[in-house]
Amino acid sequence: MSAVVEVRGLRKIYPLDGNEVIALAGIDVALAPGEFVAVMGPSGSGKSTFMQIVGLLDSPSAGTYRFEGNDVSTLHGDERADIRSRRLGFVFQSYNLLSRTSALENVELPMVYAGVPESRRRQIAVEKMELVGVAHLQKHNPNQMSGGQQQRVAIARSLVNDPGLILADEPTGALDTKSSADVMQILQRLNREQGITIMLVTHEPEVAAYARRVVTFRDGRIVSDAQNVDRAA
């Protein structure tokens, strides 16, 4: 089976005030199906840029990116949007749920753009909400839920199109310790029980400890790539 993500010589250069800022200076890495990888590094290390490229929100300046076996390095806006819609799930630090919109409708949103028929949308959304333990919050609006509940709704949303990869960008950054542990346990369980490939971006070692593999960035390069022996078992 081909790798979910496979990048070779990936570079990203931003123009800034006439100078060039090198965000990624040649990355080579691959994610196999079923992996749970934490990407770590201080701010400015390039880990966010890496996640944006892997998440097809941005395109590389040089190098190749193969997603599920296909070269996606040079795709354009709508083609990238289609892959995001069908094969990728996103979990953000700030949840990004639509306000004044019920949890159920929030979870259904990606399926609206993927063209899933309405009756099926509801069924799948309820199913995924049950999976992360928020089925009882279907009618609640985001402002009626705690941060931990909102993040779990956001995780349910990332699952609805059965993505090949979930990208979690600092998913616990806005949560207290207890909620953080809950959210990370859910991600861990999804990875172990459903075999979902997850890439987690964080700067907290406690959070990264839930992953099976930790890749560390510094100055636009990978400085370490190790299996997480403590918890991998």
Partner: protein
């Protein structure tokens, strides 16, 4: 995404901000409602002028006696007693004249059995029903033989029938007393309603003008000559030739003022409808300005909305919305705002029109083409002023949009 799904998204977004959506629509609502009310009143007034003119007979030319000066005091029009039935007969021979009827009017009391009623007795020729395009309700109208014999026959207007024969039985064959003379009722007229001046046209008793002159007024002159032109294009020509004829018959030299006055209702109607058309164009202009102001309001709110919902847009893009989908979502929102505003404006305008009609008793008509045009124009305002904000939304970079605070 299907059109229905896009529309649904847009409506959901509008419902989430009910108060703001309502306030944004308000400009369009007021603009369209104003258009509907003013057009309805204008069109109603025009229709009623046209109607009353048509009810008088569309090709009608009215000749009335002119003013006379007695001991230095000038009477008004109609003061002179100069028109005779013979003038009418002479006019009838002019080319382009379809028919002529002298008209003698006198206000008097009429009696039928125990009921009596003061009304206008009108003496005319048998051509009168044709000139006025006034159909009969029952019985017959008098003919040339009745005219020649000054027959004591009468045809009653609907109001007189109601007042003299309130129990509903047919008055045809009954005898009524007019100024002491018995007249046999031979027919009744269909109701015409109010004239353009608000007079009840049905409040009249019609008799042959010969009978009226001999038995009621005792005069040899008439109050008016009603002339019907053969068709509307000949009205002006007929008016000129009959003026010349009457001047000759009345021996009026070019230095003297005419002792009669000729009025042509078609030209009055045309002037009225031209004024109405100018008013409608002015109204359309005012309406267009108010709708454009409403459109600017929509654009303003859509710009705020796009900025406020930057993160929402970023998220929608991240989960797979195409740029075009975002564009159509925001464009649909502004079109929905303006179209719903337009429809609401039509409803409010229609209600206000009904209110005006019932309180002020003004005749009103809501022309369907104005309803359609104002709603369409409102929608176009939505497209025009919604495009820029929608395009701005669709061009956002999802990464920046998701980070926007």
């Amino acid at each position: 995404m299907t059109l229905a799904a896009t529309l649904r998204l847009a409506l959901q977004a509008l419902v989430r901000n009910k108060i703001r959506s309502l306030l944004t629509m308000l400009g369009i609502v007021i603009g369209v409602a104003a258009v509907i009310v003013t057009v309805a009143i204008g069109a109603g007034a025009r229709a009623s002028v046209q109607n009353s003119i048509n009810s008088l007979g569309s090709n009608l030319i009215v000749v009335q006696p002119g003013s006379v000066t007695q001991s230095g005091a000038r009477s008004g029009f109609g003061g002179a007693s100069t028109l005779t039935p013979d003038d009418g007969l002479a006019i009838a021979k002019l080319p382009g004249v379809a028919s002529v009827s002298p008209q003698v009017t006198i206000r008097t009391q009429v009696v039928a059995g125990e009921n009596n009623w003061q009304t206008t007795v009108t003496g005319v020729a048998p051509t009168y029903t044709f000139i006025r395009s006034w159909p009969l309700a029952a019985g017959r109208f008098f003919g040339e033989s009745d005219l020649a014999g000054s027959a004591k026959v009468a045809v009653l207007g609907a109001t007189v029938v109601q007042q003299l024969f309130p129990d509903g039985q047919s008055p045809v064959g009954a005898t009524i007393m007019v100024k002491g003379a018995p007249f046999t009722v031979i027919g009744t007229l269909a109701p015409l309603g109010q004239s353009g001046m608000g007079q009840d046209q049905d409040d009249t008793v019609i008799v042959p003008y010969t009978s009226a002159m001999e038995r009621l007024t005792g005069l040899t002159t008439v109050n008016a000559l009603l002339v019907s032109a053969a068709n509307s294009s000949e009205i002006d020509a007929v008016q000129q030739s009959l003026t010349a004829l009457l001047e000759q018959r009345h021996r009026i030299t070019p230095s003297q003022p005419d002792d009669f006055q000729v009025r042509n209702l078609q030209s009055i109607a045309q002037a009225a409808s031209q004024t109405g058309a100018v008013m409608e164009f002015l109204l359309a202009g005012v309406a267009a300005v108010s709708l454009i102001v409403g459109g600017i309001g929509i654009m303003n709110i859509m710009m705020v909305s796009v900025t406020e919902r930057t993160r929402e847009i970023g998220l929608r893009m991240a989960v797979g919305a195409h740029a075009k989908t975002i564009l159509s979502q925001f464009l649909t929102e502004s079109i929905a705002l303006s179209t719903i505003g337009g429809l609401a404006g039509v409803c409010i305008g229609a209600l206000a029109t009904i209110l005006v009609a019932s309180i002020a008793h003004w005749p009103t008509t809501i022309p369907a083409q104005w309803v359609v045009a104002s709603v369409l124009f409102a929608s176009m305002v939505g497209i025009f002023f919604g495009y820029y904000p929608a395009q701005k939304a669709s061009r956002l970079n999802p990464i920046d949009a998701l980070r926007f605070e």
